[in-house]
């Protein structure tokens, strides 16, 4: 049995079945075709040996919380084999995904088999339409079921650095995750320029929101709450998202939750894996952060073990790329060049890894000395008129960064008795980081979790899902007077 969404190409197969099942009051081909192509309808077909043996359709208008089952039919030859049930499953799942809270349908009063099927899905009779089915003069029963709405639909807004992200979740389920990056505008500067980023956020707000609502196929009215990043991050950039979120909250009357960006990165694991398994060590590495967290409970017990005392790891990649004459952003460029290099060719320093540093900065990071070491290495060779082996330098630099990141993260796991490591942040796109983390975690018996890249990089979905956790835990909304906090502590999940 195969169930899939119907397309226009299924029209003839569906019509054959329509006429077989509903001879007297079958829909015309035109009606069926417009049902199949309409944007507010969802039709599925069930196939056996590539032949359509059943179909069903749902209608749900954006902005309405009600869905209607338009039709459902299975070939008379296959009845009683669970196909009707499979079709109903597909439709109710879709209704839920589209944020419907009620589903309605009409059924022939004389079709008790169908009524039993609907009752299995929680439908009850709420009314009767006299002589609804013509020309047979048969009444229709109107039936309705309610969808559990305990899982809040949350819109999340993220603008802490150079990505404008708006995500929508229902409880722990991802509905949309739209990201607009101003990265290209920063390229000529070799790093994120806060004013350029903030201007880009303002431009991106409306198109990103529109696209997110579109992808989730919901209207603003469907949303139960708004979550927004209020720190840490670039103050001017944060303020764009905060101001937009507050105004949206006042205009729609929906409560607002100001949430922590770094804890949001941890919450992204919920969207990838259904939960944040705790306790876990989280290593968050991006152009703005390099933080090692111990998470015993997402909402109530997040502890900062260490962070960078100078450059973030992503920043180190950008700066070294510039030294090597590679474009911005440096991470992917260095990854590319390093592929052909020998990671052991040059022993670059591992920041804060010597015994004397480890005493005070066991879980802290430092990358500025490494950057200087690479620059010096290149300058010395150039001064001597010798050629710089770019692949070797890139690979050796990358190895030094990855080695420190993974070593300290694994130490944190072992020393805190935590059997799992979660990675987050844009630098998780780095191939070598993923490779080394996977290898070392396997050796140490540590479970490694890396969400897909769109959930690792800065995004609104992680903010939305963190907001949803707060709501489901009964947290009260934030007061409208919160501001941007560029150095927000990781212990403050909600402001």
């Amino acid at each position: 049995m195969l169930i899939r969404e119907a397309t226009e190409k299924d029209l003839s197969g569906i019509m054959a079945l329509e006429q077989e099942c509903f001879s007297n009051d079958a829909w015309s081909e035109d009606v069926m075709n417009s049902e199949l192509i309409a944007s507010h309808t969802f039709y599925v077909v069930v196939l056996e040996d590539e032949k359509i043996i059943g179909y069903a359709g749902l209608s749900k208008l954006p902005g309405s919380n009600q869905a209607d089952i338009q039709t459902i039919a299975t070939s008379p030859s296959v009845r009683g084999k669970g196909y009707g049930r499979a079709l109903m499953n597909a439709l109710t799942a879709k209704a839920k995904e589209l944020s419907a809270t009620e589903i309605f349908l009409e059924v022939r009063a004389d079709n008790t088999t169908a009524q039993k099927l609907y009752e299995m899905f929680g439908f009850t009779r709420i009314g009767i339409r006299k002589n609804y089915y013509q020309p047979d003069n048969v009444d229709a029963f109107v039936m309705k079921t309610s969808i559990n709405t305990k899982e809040p639909i949350v819109l999340g807004i993220e603008s802490s650095c150079d990505e404008t992200g708006i995500g929508i979740v229902r409880g722990n389920q991802l509905l949309a995750n739209v990201i607009s990056s101003s990265m290209e505008q920063h390229a000529i500067f070799g790093g994120v320029v806060p004013e350029v980023a903030a201007r880009a956020h303002l431009e991106a707000l409306t198109p990103v929101l529109d696209e997110a609502l579109n992808k989730a196929n919901i209207a603003l009215d469907d949303i139960d709450a708004i979550a927004v990043t209020n720190g840490p991050g670039l103050a001017g950039a944060l303020m764009v998202g905060i101001s937009a979120a507050k105004a949206l909250s006042v205009a729609t009357g929906k409560p607002i939750y100001a949430v922590n960006h770094l804890v949001g990165h941890v919450a992204a694991d919920i969207l990838a894996n259904g939960e944040v398994a705790t306790p876990t060590i989280a290593l968050l590495v991006s152009g703005g952060h390099t933080s090692l967290l111990l998470v015993r409970d997402l909402l109530n017990d997040v502890q900062l073990l260490g962070e960078t005392i100078d450059d973030a790891a992503g920043e180190a990649f950008d700066k070294v790329a510039r030294v090597l004459g590679l474009p911005y952003p440096g991470g992917p460029q260095i990854d590319r060049v390093a592929k052909d290099g020998n990671p052991s060719a040059i022993r670059f320093p591992r920041g804060l890894s010597l015994p004397k540093d480890m005493a005070e900065h066991r879980y802290d990071f430092s990358f500025s000395g490494l950057k200087t070491a690479v620059a010096r290495h290149v300058e010395v060779l150039e001064d001597r008129g010798e050629e710089v082996n770019l692949p070797d330098v890139a690979a050796s630099f990358r190895e030094a960064v990855v080695d420190v990141l993974v070593s300290k993260a694994i130490n944190a796991c072992k020393e805190n008795g935590v059997p799992r490591l979660l990675l987050g942040g844009g630098v998780t796109a780095n191939a070598r980081l993923r490779e080394v983390a996977a290898k070392r975690c396997l050796e140490e018996g540590i479970e490694l979790r890396i969400p897909p890249f769109d959930l690792c990089t800065d995004n609104g979905a992680m903010i939305a899902v963190l907001g949803a956790q707060l709501i489901m835990s009964g947290a009260a909304p934030s007061n409208l007077s919160f501001g941007a906090n560029s150095t927000l502590q990781v212990t403050k999940v909600q402001s």
Binding site: I188, L205, G236, M239, S243, A247, L248, T252, E379
Partner: protein, 209 residues
């Protein structure tokens, strides 16, 4: 027609109008708390005027010029308030609101020079010739220059000056007046920055001597 008007080009100012009649307004002069204030301010004018967000037909926003970080707070809020309330969004030059406030108090006045602080030893400024159909007639600007250079563009001595501040109420009135003129309201809403971001492409520097 109900309008909600807001401006963060200097302080934070929010007003709710029925046509050109101000039902409620809030004005905060300090210029470092826009993001903190804006939500509560919007909520308060609605409560004071006893109007629901869904009744708002139009959002009017001051597009600046003004210090960028604060200015964006008003524009970001205006965009999402308009979407959330299903209202139209129109923009007005913030300096025009200062001019209207001046002309309302000095009905016979002629040429006016509006000057605001642009930081970095420069000013934002615009020159006006008077009022027509309730709309200040801007003849030069908005521009950003050193204050002493304004004389290169206009005859400064023939213009009156004003210390009046921008108010959202004045923005709302201008937008309402504009609707009844041929030009109509301005739906092309974007910040008036007048300066490029202050950043220069970095040059690599040597680390070894």
């Amino acid at each position: 027609m109900y309008s909600i008007a807001l401006d963060t080009s200097a302080g934070t100012t929010v007003a709710l109008l029925q046509d050109d009649d101000v039902l409620a307004e809030l004005n905060f002069d300090e210029n470092m708390t826009h993001a903190e204030r804006i939500g509560q301010a919007l909520s308060e004018v609605l409560t004071k005027a006893a109007i629901r967000p869904a009744q708002i037909d139009r959002v009017v926003v001051g597009m600046g010029p003004g210090p960028f970080t604060g200015l964006r707070v008003g524009l970001a809020a205006a965009k999402f308030f308009a979407l959330g309330a299903n209202a139209e969004l129109v923009g007005v030059c913030s300096l025009d609101a200062i001019a209207l406030n001046f002309y309302e108090q000095n009905q016979t006045a002629g040429a006016l020079l509006v000057v605001t602080d642009a930081r970095r030893k420069e000013v934002f400024w615009a020159a006006y010739s008077g009022l027509s159909s309730g709309i200040p007639i801007r003849v030069v600007g908005p521009s950003v220059t050193k204050e002493e250079n304004i004389k290169d563009f206009i005859d400064v001595d023939s213009h009156q000056r004003t210390e009046i501040l921008v108010t959202a109420a004045a923005l709302g009135k201008i937008a309402f007046s504009e609707t009844s003129t041929e030009l109509g309201a301005n739906y092309d809403v974007s910040p008036i920055y007048l300066r490029e971001p202050d950043a220069v492409p970095g040059k690599g520097k040597r680390v070894s001597s």
